[in-house]
């Protein structure tokens, strides 16, 4: 009796979530998956006939008449993954020490700092990126200040370079790295750190053997949350990179708009998803194995 009631309650509680995920996540995903195997419509949309060359264009079995295999799609994918990985590493290097510092602050200051970290979310991403454009351009704030105090004699050429893209991505993603990192660093068992030092471990040994393993869940969580949107980001390369280096996100956007090729865009999206899923599963497996060692 109790069991059945529990089941009923559970069903009632879970069904809205299931329905939500089903309608807003699984169904669109299914549409993309199906579209990726269909014939592109002349003016967008799809024709309901099987078409193997959306993937063929990417991986090498195009017929050479309707569709041509070109390696640039995989190159674009590789470059996007490289940029995303760089974003993850830079965010981590930036956030790790800061998270330690914040976790040592008095509670009041800590709250203020956490609020400041989330503050950028209050304004639109596009507006914030245009602000960066104004900062980075040759006559912008950064160059004016650096020239003014005499650090440089010629304006720095940052805008419309890959460096500007990385900077913009790191700026956008820092909060997503900071929050999971902070929560795991804040929960760090300081007694273990003291014990390690007392027992003669060097600072470096303590960091590697005691601190790093304990904060690994935060590092992995932050890395995954930063990596996934970074792979598909197309606004930052457009606004700050001058649209000169095509990223996979730009390519997908272009297929749905100017190229009017929804199936090819869907096929590219499926590949991005497969890559992201692989990264996710690998990191979960890695975290589990590490967790197992600690226990």
């Amino acid at each position: 009796m109790a069991m059945r009631r529990q089941t009923a309650v559970l069903t009632a509680l879970l069904s809205p979530v299931t329905l939500f995920l089903g309608v807003f996540f699984l169904l669109p995903l299914l549409i993309i998956a199906v579209f990726s195997f269909l014939t592109p419509g002349l003016y967008g949309g799809v024709e309901w006939a099987f078409y193997p060359w959306n993937y063929g264009r990417i991986f090498g079995w195009a017929d050479g008449i309707m569709e041509i295999y070109e390696p640039i799609y995989l190159q674009i994918m590789a470059r996007s993954l490289g940029f995303a990985a760089m974003t993850v590493v830079l965010c981590l290097l930036l956030c790790y020490p800061v998270a330690f510092w914040v976790s040592r602050l008095p509670a009041r200051w800590r709250l203020l700092f956490l609020f400041l970290i989330t503050l950028p979310f209050f304004s639109s991403l596009i507006v914030r990126l245009y602000a960066w454009l104004l900062i980075l351009k040759p006559s912008g704030l950064l160059n004016t200040v650096l020239l003014g105090i005499g650090v440089i004699s010629e304006p720095l050429e940052i805008l419309y370079t890959p460096a500007a893209v990385v900077l913009g991505m790191v700026y956008v993603m820092v909060p997503f790295m900071f929050l999971p990192l902070f929560s795991s660093i804040d929960n760090l068992d300081r007694a273990l750190v003291e014990a390690s030092m007392d027992l003669g471990a060097t600072r470096f040994q303590t960091f590697i053997k005691v601190i790093l393993p304990q904060t690994l869940p935060g590092i992995l969580g932050g890395a995954v949350i930063v990596f996934i949107p970074s792979v598909g980001n197309f606004i930052v390369p457009d606004v700050l990179g001058g649209a000169k280096g095509l990223m996979i996100g730009n390519l997908v956007e272009q297929q749905f708009l100017s190229a009017r090729n929804w199936p090819f865009g869907s096929a590219l999206s499926m590949i991005v998803m497969a890559v992201v899923l692989t990264v996710l599963l690998t990191s979960i497996t890695f975290a589990k194995r590490k967790g197992g060692q600690n226990a």
Binding site: L42, Y43, G44, G45, I68, E70, I72, Y73, Q75, I76, Y130, L133, K137, P138, S139, G140, L159, Y160, D238, V239, G241, G242, A243, K244, G245, L246, N250, L251, Q254, Q255, F256, L257, S258, A259, R260, N261
Partner: protein, 339 residues
Amino acid sequence: MKLFGLAASLAVMASMAQAEETLALYNWGDYINPDILTKFTEETGIKVTLDTYSSNEEMLAKIQAGATGYDIVFPSVHMNDIMLKLGLLEKTDINLSPDFKNIDPANLRSKEDPTSSYCLPYAWGTVGVFYNEKVTGPISSWADFFAVPEKTGGKITLLDDMREVLAIGLMTNGKSVNSTDPADVQLATDYILAHKASVSAFTYDSMAMLASGDIAAAHFFVGGNVFFVDMPDIKYMIPSEGATMYQENICVLASAPDKENAKKFMEFYLRPEIAAMNVAQQYNGTANVPARDLIPEAIKNNPNITVSADTIARLHIFEDIGAALKLYDRAWNTIRTAQ
């Protein structure tokens, strides 16, 4: 009793809501003088809402995906043709309106609707080069434009638009901007790739950068002139090898909820003083012949905005190229991936 009163007042409110006439425009960003909408509402009592898009394809994708509630869209001529083929537009018989005689027949450019029984020519203009003469000196061709970085150290930008950029490569090679021949598109790709290193960015943000001196020249729409009224050093030119032109039409959607109001708006826009109001704020060309006498002198006398017949002869307009779009897409990917 109280309940009855509430129901009655609700009914009154509902009928008021019905009485409120509306018109929903879906237009390019910053592409209509807001005073025109105010004046239309003042005269007709029809409340106008305005949503914006940034490319033909964005608009098409949204309408195709089933977006409803819009009455009027402003597609470029080739998109007007595509939308007609897809059955997305409503026949308005605007060409039977008495004021239709104001429209220049040269502006009836739609291939699918050559008599304008669906859409009304809205505005047209050129896509050329803005340059800071103090930095670049006088320039008059695409060759001059691409040589600016090497000669002067000034930066240049192109539009972030697949067909506009490839059109430059086609025109400089003497090919049609609507070519569907892979060899022509390859020539165009090679031309752009040869100059890619000189191009700082593919962007629409170039006008502010030109005004602040961060770039020296930019590929942009004639409407950009509006930013440089007080900056005589910034000039605009139509390159000698050729340039593209655009024209947008006012079209009523087949799914439009207020088709009658939409027709009223088209008729309103046929009036010369209204078309002239738009030119005064937008700095582009009008298809309305009597309106051409009503536009501000500064615009009328600017040879770059009000272009001469031999300049018009150098202009090319995009047509729908159907499945050949794939050629351009591949070329554009190559251009944007090349280091």
